[in-house]
C-alpha cells in the first residue's frame, strides 16, 4: 500500500479508529489520515519505497501480533523511520507502559477518554501542538 499521507493511525479497534478519524476531521485536519489495523501493515506502509513518510504516527499499544511497544522498538531502530514523531493514544494508563514508551522516545502519551467529546478535545490538543511544531517529514532524508 502506498503511504504518502501526513498522519498514520495504527489502531486495531474499528470503532475507535472511526471516532479518531472523525475527531481529526472535526479538528480541521485537512491532511489525509491513513489507518492501518496492525503493526505489520504499518511497517509495510512506512517501508513502501518512493513514498513520503507521515508527519506523525498515532499509535495504539494493545495491538494484535506485534504490540505497540514492540512496534516502537522497530521504528526507533530503523534509521529511515526513527525521526518520525510517535504519539501513543491508548486505553492503558499503566505506569510501566508510560515509562517504556518514553524510554523508546515517544513524543506524547495520551489516554483515550471514554466519550466522544473527550476524544475530540484530546485530538484538538494534539492537532494544535503538532501544527505548531515542525516535523521532519517534509525534510525527508531517507529514500529506500
Amino acid at each position: 500500500m502506498p503511504c504518502a499521507k501526513p498522519i498514520l493511525l495504527v489502531e486495531d479497534d474499528p470503532i475507535d479508529a472511526l471516532a479518531i478519524k472523525r475527531a481529526l476531521h472535526a479538528s480541521n485536519v485537512t491532511d489525509t489520515v491513513v489507518h492501518v489495523p496492525c503493526a505489520r501493515e504499518a511497517l509495510a506502509c512506512l517501508r513502501s519505497p518512493g513514498t513520503d513518510k507521515p508527519a506523525l504516527i498515532l499509535l495504539d499499544l494493545n495491538l494484535p501480533g506485534t504490540d505497540g511497544l514492540e512496534f516502537l522498538q522497530i521504528i526507533k531502530g530503523d534509521s529511515c523511520l526513527m525521526n518520525i514523531p510517535i504519539v501513543v493514544l491508548t486505553a492503558s494508563d499503566e505506569p510501566c507502559d508510560i515509562l517504556r514508551g518514553f524510554d523508546l522516545g515517544i513524543a506524547g502519551y495520551m489516554v483515550k477518554s471514554s466519550g466522544y467529546e473527550g476524544l475530540l478535545e484530546t485530538i484538538r490538543i494534539i492537532q494544535n501542538y503538532w501544527s505548531l511544531s515542525q516535523s521532519p517529514s517534509h525534510h525527508a532524508s531517507c529514500n529506500s
Binding site: 526507533k76 499503566e94 513524543a107 494544535n128 516535523s135 525534510h139
Partner: protein
C-alpha cells in the same frame, strides 16, 4: 504541565529566558522554571541528585560551550534522563537542525515566535499538550520495580 515538577529551560539568551518566564506567569503555569544557560550546565543540573528532575525540558539549539544537539546526543543515552521529553524552542528553521533533533527523539520542535502574543500562544499550546500527556514517573527505580511487578503479574 501535568504535575508540579520543575520545567528545565536551557537557553543562553537572557531576554528569551525572561520571555519564557513572563509567559509562564501570564498563563499561570505554576511549575518552577529552572534556567540553565547551555547544554553543559543543563547536564550538570540533571545529573545532580540534589535537584528535582524536571517533567519536561525546553531546549534552545544555538548555545555556546555545548549546544542543543550536543546536549541531546548525551542526554538521550543517559538512562536516567532519556525518558524526559525535550521540546526544542529555537529561532533556527534549518532543515538539518529539525532532522537531527527528531533523530535524537525530541518531542516537539517549535520556532520561537518573535511577537510576544504569539509566543504566549505557543507556550499555552505546549502547556496544554503536556498537561494532557502522561509523563514518566520521576523515580526511575520505582518505575522499573513497577515494570517488573507488572510482567511478573502475567502481562
Amino acid at each position: 504541565m501535568r504535575d508540579s515538577r520543575p520545567v528545565l529551560l536551557v537557553e543562553d539568551d537572557s531576554i528569551d529566558a525572561m520571555t519564557v518566564r513572563r509567559a509562564f506567569r501570564d498563563l499561570k503555569v505554576t511549575n518552577p522554571l529552572k534556567h540553565t544557560v547551555n547544554g553543559e550546565e543543563a547536564l550538570a543540573y540533571l545529573q545532580d541528585p540534589a535537584n528535582d528532575k524536571p517533567c519536561v525540558i525546553l531546549l534552545d539549539l544555538n548555545m555556546p560551550k555545548m549546544n542543543g544537539t550536543e546536549f541531546l546526543a548525551v542526554a538521550k543515552t543517559d538512562p536516567a534522563i532519556k525518558k524526559i521529553p525535550v521540546i526544542v524552542l529555537t529561532t533556527s528553521s534549518e532543515e538539518r537542525d529539525i532532522v537531527e533533533s527528531f533523530r535524537l527523539n525530541v518531542a516537539g520542535y517549535i520556532i520561537k515566535p518573535v511577537d510576544y502574543k504569539k509566543f504566549v500562544e505557543a507556550v499555552r499550546t505546549i502547556d496544554l499538550y503536556w498537561t494532557l500527556s502522561e509523563l514518566p514517573k520521576e523515580k526511575m527505580e520505582d518505575a522499573n520495580a513497577l515494570c517488573q511487578a507488572h510482567s511478573a503479574g502475567g502481562r
